[in-house]
Symmetry: C2
Subunit: 286 residues, 2 copies
Amino acid sequence: MTHKVLPHLTQAKAPLTRAITAINEHGAVQNIEVPAERALTVYVDKKEIVTLMTLGAYPEWLVLGYLRNQRLVEQLNEMESITVDWDAGEAGAGVAAVKTKNGLQNLAEKTQHRVVTTGCGQGSVFGDLMQNLDDLQMPESQITQEQLYQIINAIRLQESTYKSAGSVHGCALFNHQSLQLFVEDVGRHNAIDTLAGWMWLQDIQFDAPVFYTTGRLTSEMVLKSAQMHVPIVVSRSGITEMGFVMAEQLNVCTIGRATNKHFLCYTAGHRLVHQPHLAQSSIKIT
Amino acid sequence: MTHKVLPHLTQAKAPLTRAITAINEHGAVQNIEVPAERALTVYVDKKEIVTLMTLGAYPEWLVLGYLRNQRLVEQLNEMESITVDWDAGEAGAGVAAVKTKNGLQNLAEKTQHRVVTTGCGQGSVFGDLMQNLDDLQMPESQITQEQLYQIINAIRLQESTYKSAGSVHGCALFNHQSLQLFVEDVGRHNAIDTLAGWMWLQDIQFDAPVFYTTGRLTSEMVLKSAQMHVPIVVSRSGITEMGFVMAEQLNVCTIGRATNKHFLCYTAGHRLVHQPHLAQSSIKIT
């Protein structure tokens, strides 16, 4: 294993919620928490790339994952540092300054196509990625229905901004049934990019990586999973037609409507070892 | 009133759902409907602007609203036609060809900043719009709690792709409590842009326009409402901090968690005429 030269990252975690008051249907004042939503403008070697609207939990991993999933950066060691300063930008925006060692090749060309997906605007996702689908090789791994239930249960028990303030999406990376990282953001594309950034920094090869997302299984979610070589994606929500078509093509196992003992497996069913007796069982999996 | 010269629009509505099979927790095959998700690449005078991932219900209004909300086009009569062809693009993407009369000024400049909001990537929303917030003047209008309940009820009764296939966002424009248009899309930013496009085509000044959205009240949703001079936004979901801050600044009334008799009014409370006795009432509003 070659030793990775990691970029230097700040740790600019920002407060995730804010207390406000609202008036309810009885005309009474109610104190509530709402999730933060912050603008973070990303510059690579002083060139403006994009402004991300984010919760602000792990901004450096988010930027890292964004650059990777947009295929703007290929190797970690191309980057010297990522410095996040929430107070540095115009009109109240935060700034993430990415410093590369030798500049990035073809940056203008790579950022010229724009796609507004269901959940976000992701540079060249469609234009370039769609045409290279066959290059993405998925590892041969499976999970059992029991492990799936353990994943659903781990998410249920997870402490979260969602529980305290609502209005955020959660994404998590599991290895088999074991939770590796749980990330929330106001945009689900940010949550998955943050996971991607974190995974990139790890010197670990995951055996049976599984994504969990509270969001829908859209084309974007399936593509990003495939890009990160994660062959199984579990969601509380449903699937779109293009998510379905791409997952079939990419051999990604998509499992939706996953709550309690229920789920629907849409694609690559051979990756899920069915244990239907567990669905009837009243034994609680903890 | 000056007569508007309307651009010529195709009516390329595409099938909104598709039947697929899935395997449930009992190992049984289940037939379900999933919402379509289509790529639509927008060209203005043959220059590629963006690829939108959309359900495909009203693609021409979507493109119109997108161009308006991105401030790429100022006047309807700048456009000759919008022609949508679902089979014309590369890699299976549809094409929306916008033909202008005299070309658009500063197109390159206007499309150079990118913002990925919670729900989408919207060109210059942040960079430009944030700095012009004070220019947006909201009409002085109000709704009563009774009208709010009628709005919530109208949405409940609405036939929808959501009911048959799930996984889409719905947005609607009301005038007082009267439903004008209901639009669904796989991305809520598309649904609101479609409403914007439709509104633009109408020769009507709405008295007391109200938006309803199933999605969250984020900065983007509040900004777009303000851009369209709609001063009241109702949502089934909650609000983010930036949505809250902007709504206060713009004098937009935001009402979230609106289901049955419940709601929370976050901002511009003077626009909602409270009738707390209706919250206790067991009389059903139909």
